[in-house]
């Protein structure tokens, strides 16, 4: 391999360092006008009157839109179509968009917002999930499982009660994971325009142009074929740009009505309102173990604070319980998850989507178990790592597992044997592990079509254009596309032009989420490139009378492996093939393997393969101030194979960075305004200054180890790296704090204040910990009982229709109206 596995400058590297990457707000068009949104000032209220006449009369104002202009709802999941571009009759959080002004410039639009008169009738505000559980009325939405419960699920794999009875010890712990937000440096922006033939074009900072395309077709009631969505390179996404958004619908509609380009760029404060970030999750873990550390059974309960809309929330709920079994062998497993609505910005998918919260609880509890059983925590994990090529209790098919090797690498690099439990008071080390998906096994709307498509155009110039709907969000997806094609065709990455994220030009790829792009697009790209190579090989073989199987593609040449001087240049090979076969173009597709889970809810968790990580974190804690400093982090990641090690390392270190932020400082917090004002529930600090995130001075030194054990399902053996390495870091910080000063902080962020409180508790002789103790009563549904594979199960729930499958709910691949 020449390209795969070699550290390289990414294909878009030059554009990024010269400032030439064209982000959404850099799209400037002639006659462009500007849009601003009026947002709700109340957390929960009925709109009783809205009068836009004064705003419309302002000079320079071209259009004012309200909820009446957007009667059709949308939402990322087919089961949660609960958003309107502008509020129709109800607002659900402070920041919910109510009206839009389109004017000649931003300032005129902004000033006109003050001239829109809105009258509200306030409704009860739900600020905490416990309130939403207790008070079913007023309902924040008219759908959902009951009252203000959006979703409650219960999945049972085997006889967990018996497993607890058979255990030598049973541990029960409660944890809380505070919500936090993505904070991409680029604010969301979008530009919409009517193209010369009257169709709609939208440029947007989105991770999922395909889903935006679908949502636009639905809300605008337009043929999807007449809508073109172009995902501009994202200035950071991390999951925060994965939903279709209000502002995208608004500028699209306005551009169609005005026949002029319309731009919107959100302020930083508005980005905090878009949110879709990490759900705050309260969790209870009950785990039965044998004295050697073997797990007999586990019962996980989670309560998610969903905020005001559905977003990805149903999937997020399942994800809090999906991947425990993929990491360690858990023979019986019961998961109960509940998501409630509250009057706060909607939560959704942030890097790790639903899994970091429960990973945090699981890995701290394992640390407690290890201590209690006097087993080294690294050794305990090595004993219980899930076996490769296994079907788990919840029917997730695990392929290769590099976790044991990850644990060995980090313990060696960090000198674990001589540091854990042996450092002076105030210093400590902690370990934790994790696993993550390499792409979701099922699409968001159920269908049988490929998840990723790649199209190649080969040109007689020797240049190749690679088309794919994948979206470059900084992770390097364009580079993966180009690298896979270049490797197969034996040309250089610079010879290939990637054209990506454009619904008119590129075949569908579902988007940059769930760590799916490298695996799915990569496999599609290899298939397309191999088909092209085959055509070229046929043609060159005929022309030069060399047996096809002796032809090699390398160094921009096609030549005889036995007589390397005999051959043609790559561009000559394309000319020969074009003369023989006509225009040269090929396609490749990727569809994940069929999941073994045949029960309702089994659609969340399956993946073609899983990545694994292990991390050791070192902390310095000052017991007098509670101040925590993280000097070093060692992390090993099972990547399968590195396509471009420079970018892989960047993803690992970037994950560690974001994890340190979540562990120590980041929180999406809310407060009530004083009663003399509106008493409204507002975001505590919607600014980058007060929402703390790590700077260059906070960032620990990171030692990265890549474990390469090519996975047969990955392109050239590659697995994901964008999300998995974030997961073990937060619990490893908590475990290190315990090693340093002997107190448990069972929630994030781990702040000096919480450390001092835990130290006070320890000094007072009470439990040396800080964290939640109670888990509320939740009206759980009857559990869906699915016997595990070793109990004779076939992946289906007991008593279910034998035909039923997770895909059975909705089968409607069509969207919009037909042209």
């Amino acid at each position: 391999m020449k390209i795969i596995g070699t550290p390289r400058r990414r294909v878009d590297g030059r554009a990024k360092v010269t400032g030439q990457t064209k982000f959404a707000d850099d799209v400037m068009l002639p006659r462009m006008v500007h849009c601003k949104l009026l947002r709700s000032t109340l957390p929960h209220a009925r709109i009783t009157r809205i009068d836009t006449s004064r705003a419309r009369a302002r000079p320079g104002v071209y259009l004012v839109l309200t909820g009446q202009d957007f009667p059709i709802p949308y939402g990322i999941l087919p089961v949660s179509q609960d958003e309107h571009a502008l509020a129709v009759d109800r607002v659900r959080f402070v920041g919910d968009p109510v009206a839009a002004v389109i004017a000649r410039d931003e300032l005129t639009a902004f000033e006109a917002l003050d001239f829109i008169d809105v009258e509200y009738e306030p409704l009860r505000t739900f600020s905490e999930p416990e309130e939403s559980l207790v008070h079913p009325e007023p309902r924040i939405h008219e759908y959902g499982d009951a009252g203000n419960i959006h979703k409650a699920v219960s999945l049972k794999f085997g006889d967990v009660e018996q497993a607890f009875a058979d255990a030598d010890r049973v541990f029960e712990d409660t944890f809380f994971y505070q919500g936090n937000t993505h904070l991409p440096i680029e604010q969301h922006a979008a530009v919409a325009a009517k193209d010369p033939d009257g169709k709609l074009v939208l440029w947007s900072s989105t991770q999922t142009p395909h889903y935006v395309h679908r949502a636009l077709a639905k809300t605008l009631a337009m043929p999807a074929a007449h809508i073109r969505v172009i995902a501009t390179p994202n200035g950071g996404g991390f999951g925060g740009k994965s939903d279709p958004f209000n502002h995208e619908m608004v500028v699209a509609k306005a551009a169609l009505m005005l026949d002029r380009p319309v731009k919107i760029c959100l302020t930083r404060e508005e980005v905090f309102y878009c949110h879709r970030g990490r759900h705050p999750v309260l969790m209870r873990f009950k785990t039965g173990v044998k004295l050697d550390g073997t797990i007999t059974g586990m019962h996980v309960k989670t309560l998610l604070d969903g905020g005001a809309y559905g977003s990805y929330g149903v999937a997020s709920t399942f994800y809090t319980g999906a991947l425990q079994t993929v990491t360690y062998h858990i023979p019986t497993y019961h998961f109960q998850g509940c998501r409630v609505f509250t009057n706060k910005p909607p939560c959704g998918p942030k890097r790790g989507h639903g899994t970091p919260q429960s990973r945090f609880g699981q890995e701290i509890q394992l640390d407690k178990i290890a201590e209690s059983l006097t087993i080294d925590p690294a050794e305990l994990r090595l004993r219980i790592v899930e076996k490769p090529d296994t079907l788990t209790a919840n029917y997730l098919r695990v392929g290769t597992i590099g976790l044991s090797e990850c644990i060995r690498r980090v313990t060696q690099a960090a000198d674990w044997k001589n540091t854990f439990g042996k450092l002076p008071h105030g210093r400590g080390v902690g370990i934790a592990c994790s696993s993550y998906l390499s792409g979701a096994g099922l699409p968001i709307y159920y269908n049988d079509m490929p998840h990723s498509g790649v199209q190649l155009k080969l040109d007689r110039s020797g240049g190749v254009t690679a088309f794919c709907g994948a979206t470059e969000i900084g992770q390097g997806s364009d580079d993966v596309l180009v690298a896979c094609v270049a490797e197969v065709l034996g040309i250089e990455p610079i010879d290939i032009r990637p054209v990506t994220g454009d619904t008119d030009l590129t075949p569908v790829d579902l988007g940059s989420y769930s760590s799916r792009v490298t695996l799915m697009m990569g496999n599609a790209a290899i298939q397309a490139a191999e088909r092209a190579r085959d055509l070229l090989a046929d043609a060159v073989s005929k022309k030069l009378s060399i047996p096809k199987e002796r032809l090699v593609f390398a160094d921009r040449r096609v030549f005889d492996t036995e007589k390397p001087d005999t051959g043609v240049s790559f561009s000559e090979a394309v000319c020969i093939a074009e003369a023989l076969f006509g225009t040269i173009g090929t396609t490749g597709s990727y569809t994940p393997p069929r999941s073994a889970a045949r029960y309702k809810g089994g659609g969340v968790g399956p993946s073609p393969t899983y990545s694994y990580s292990a991390a050791i974190v070192e902390v310095d804690v000052d017991p007098s101030s509670g101040w925590i400093h993280v000097p070093r982090v060692w992390i090993a990641h099972d990547i399968g194979r590195s396509l471009n090690p420079t970018l892989v390392r960047g993803q690992v270190e970037g994950s560690v960075y974001m994890a340190i932020g979540e562990a120590l400082m980041e929180e999406q917090e809310f407060r009530r305004l004083p009663p003399a004002m509106s008493h409204a529930l507002v975001h505590k600090f919607p600014s980058m200054l007060e929402y703390k995130s790590p700077t260059t001075l906070d960032m620990p030194e990171v030692f990265t180890e890549l474990v390469e054990n090519p996975d047969p399902r990955g392109p050239f053996g590659a697995k994901e790296v964008g999300q998995g390495p974030l997961l073990p870091v937060m619990p490893a910080v908590a475990n290190a704090v315990y090693d340093a000063i002997g107190v448990r902080i069972d929630e994030v962020p781990i702040t000096p204040e919480k450390i001092l409180k835990a130290l006070d508790a320890k000094a007072a002789g009470t439990a040396p910990r800080y964290g939640p103790t109670a888990f509320p009563d939740i009206p759980w549904p009857e559990p869906l009982e699915v016997p595990p594979p070793w109990a004779g199960g076939d992946g289906k729930a007991k008593g279910s229709n034998p035909q039923s499958a997770p895909q059975s709910a909705i089968r409607n691949p069509q969207y919009g109206v037909r042209p």
């Binding site: 400058r9 990414r10 878009d12 590297g13 030059r14 554009a15 990024k16 360092v17 010269t18 400032g19 030439q20 990457t21 064209k22 982000f23 707000d25 850099d26 400037m28 300032l107 993505h182 904070l183 991409p184 440096i185 680029e186 604010q187 390179p233 994202n234 200035g235 950071g236 996404g237 991390f238 302020t267 930083r268 969000i473 900084g474 992770q475 390097g476 420079t646 970018l647 390392r649 960047g650 270190e653 970037g654 994950s655 560690v656 960075y657 974001m658 600014s687 980058m688 200054l689 995130s693 700077t695 260059t696 001075l697 960032m699 030194e701 990171v702």
Partner: protein
């Protein structure tokens, strides 16, 4: 509208704009220099950093009218004679730019550091870049890229035309004529 003259990326420029506009807005909207980015427009993120008379400033906190007669360097001005600045080469090669949105701010801030210190330590680099937020990289590859640019003997901190302090700040020239954007061909 007011009109000012200034030197942008070593070229003299005359530009007219509404007096409330920040340097960031003047660069992006009136001079079409979109390489400079914004992440907050409140001086919190460092994405909009440019060099003003050789010093890093947050262009979202500087009014355009303050820049009359002064020298501004943006990311577009780092390229000389078609060659990337060593910092740009190193950032591109070593993974210091992921999404690339904060990159222009980091590049010019790092350039100011190297103009000041030929051979800064890792701690000095951390200190100098502490006002720039990056959510992608975890900073480590950025530190390494700055160090690699230093190690490149040819041109790190190489004096460029922008470094010759010719221009003197002239507050007199803040005039208030009608409008008409008259700037350099580069800016158009």
């Amino acid at each position: 509208m007011i009109t000012i003259t200034l030197t942008v990326n070593a070229e003299p420029v005359e530009v007219a704009f509404a007096p409330y506009k920040t340097l960031l807005e003047v660069l992006r909207e009136d001079l079409n220099l979109c390489g400079t980015k914004h992440g907050c427009e409140l001086g919190e993120c460092g994405a909009c950093a440019v060099l003003l008379d050789g010093q890093p400033v947050l262009s979202c906190l500087v009014l355009g009218v303050e820049c009359d007669g002064r020298r501004v360097l943006t990311v577009e001005g780092l390229v000389t004679d078609g060659r990337l600045h060593p910092l740009q080469e190193a950032f591109a090669d070593l993974g210091a730019a992921q999404c690339g949105y904060c990159t222009p701010g980091f590049l010019v801030t790092a350039k100011a550091l190297l103009d000041e210190h030929a051979n800064p330590t890792r701690d000095q680099i951390r200190e100098a870049l502490a006002g720039c937020l990056c959510r992608c990289t975890g900073y480590q590859q950025i530190f390494e890229a700055v160090e690699a640019a230093i190690a490149n003997p040819q041109s790190a901190g190489n004096p460029q035309s922008i470094r010759n302090p010719q221009s003197i700040r002239n507050p007199q020239s803040i005039r208030n004529p009608q409008s008409a954007i008259r700037n350099s061909s580069e800016a158009r």
